[in-house]
């Protein structure tokens, strides 16, 4: 049992460190770590995990950790994996926030952060493209995406984005 917990800790530390770029890397990395290198899940379980982790509320990495942890080592495994997966990010932030509070503001860090914003926009654009390519294959799907975008744009601040997700889901039940 200790062995299992240890495997979970190592795997999900790796996933927590590498799950980078807003969910973009999370799925391929989980697949590599859990199926290919450690053989914790079968490929069928993995595809089930991906569907569930993406379409339940919350971050994909946390969802994946809870699901895999539970299936491998019960409730304790689920909690352990979920905490381990967020630790690398949290520790990095503690360090960063501590430095920001205790070091004087200088123009070096301002320039870095300014450039960072533009780099992250590149990442967002790439995520938009790669995610869209994965889910939009026909004109019906394209039309649903365009409609969802139009609602987000025109009802900005008035309609909760969750309503758009649920709306598109109901539309999906009617047309697919």
């Amino acid at each position: 049992m200790m062995q299992t917990f240890w495997t979970l800790i190592v795997s999900f530390t790796v996933i927590g460190l590498g799950a980078y770029g807003g969910g973009l890397m999370t799925v391929p990395l989980m697949q590599h770590e859990l199926v290919v290198s450690r053989d914790l899940l079968s490929m069928t379980q993995m595809s089930q995990l991906v569907a569930i982790a993406q379409m339940t509320p919350g971050p994909i990495a946390v969802n994946g950790a809870t699901f895999v942890g539970y299936n491998i080592a019960g409730l304790a495994g689920a909690l352990l994996a979920s905490i381990v997966v967020v630790l690398p990010g949290v520790l990095a932030l503690v360090l960063l926030l501590f430095c920001r509070e205790h070091l004087p503001v200088n123009t070096h860090s301002l320039r870095l952060r300014r450039g960072l914003r533009a780099g992250v926009l590149g990442l967002l654009l790439f995520a938009t493209w790669s995610y869209s390519r994965g889910v939009i294959h026909s004109w019906v799907e394209g039309a649903i995406a365009a409609a969802a975008f139009a609602v987000l744009l025109t009802c900005e601040g008035r309609v909760h984005p969750l309503a758009v997700i649920v709306g598109a889901g109901v539309l999906g039940m009617l047309v697919f």
Binding site: G23, L24, I52, P57, A118, L125, F126, L152, L153
Partner: protein, 189 residues
């Protein structure tokens, strides 16, 4: 931002955790709705600055963002409350699904619903990109940093390189005088 209790931080971020689908950047659309548009805790600029930092460190963007926001409001206790709040719905729902509901995900009606919802996730990510882009000024350094990051991703490099490329371009090519008075990002998280 007014003083806010740790309990309230926990509850607000639980609600956010419960109403976000698709992870990371798709969650950014909901976070912006809750924190900028609805509660006005952050200006648009502060939000996107926080989002870029949350993206630049490893791990789930939404947890990192919650942690930073909680820290800003209430120090480390607030940070832990906000991060735990974001995680709680995820963990509870996934435990329930892992225990009882895994087979339901293969039912045709559920699969169709999820297919439609997945398309809306694409729209949410696109919308997050659009609102982010709208807040950056158009000058060649920004265009270059963004294009370089995008290019590195297209040739298949890990996202950390896009982030490093952006920060390097900023460090080497951007000037302090481009900072406007209302844009003093260093004072906020």
């Amino acid at each position: 931002m007014r003083a806010i209790s740790c309990t309230r931080l926990f509850l607000i971020f639980s609600k956010i955790g419960l109403t976000t689908f698709g992870g990371g950047f798709s969650m950014a659309t909901v976070l912006r709705h809750e924190l900028v548009l609805k509660r006005a805790w952050l200006t648009e600029r502060e939000f996107f600055d926080t989002l870029s930092t949350a993206t630049a460190v490893p791990g789930a963007v939404a947890i990192n963002l919650a942690f930073m926001q909680g820290w800003k409001a209430r120090g480390y206790r607030g940070a832990l409350a906000a991060a735990a709040g974001t995680m709680l719905p995820s963990v509870v729902i996934l435990l329930f699904i892992a225990r009882f509901a895994t087979p339901y995900f293969e039912r045709p009606m559920v699969a169709s619903f999820l297919k439609g919802a997945g398309i809306a996730v694409a729209a949410q990510i696109a919308f997050a990109s659009y609102t982010f882009a709208r807040n950056l000024r158009v000058h060649w350094q920004n265009v270059f940093a963004c294009g370089l990051g995008l290019g590195l991703l297209i040739i298949g490099l890990h996202p950390v390189f896009a982030v490093l490329a952006g920060a390097s371009v900023g460090y080497l090519l951007m000037h302090e005088r481009m900072t406007r008075p209302d844009d003093n990002i260093a004072k906020d998280i």
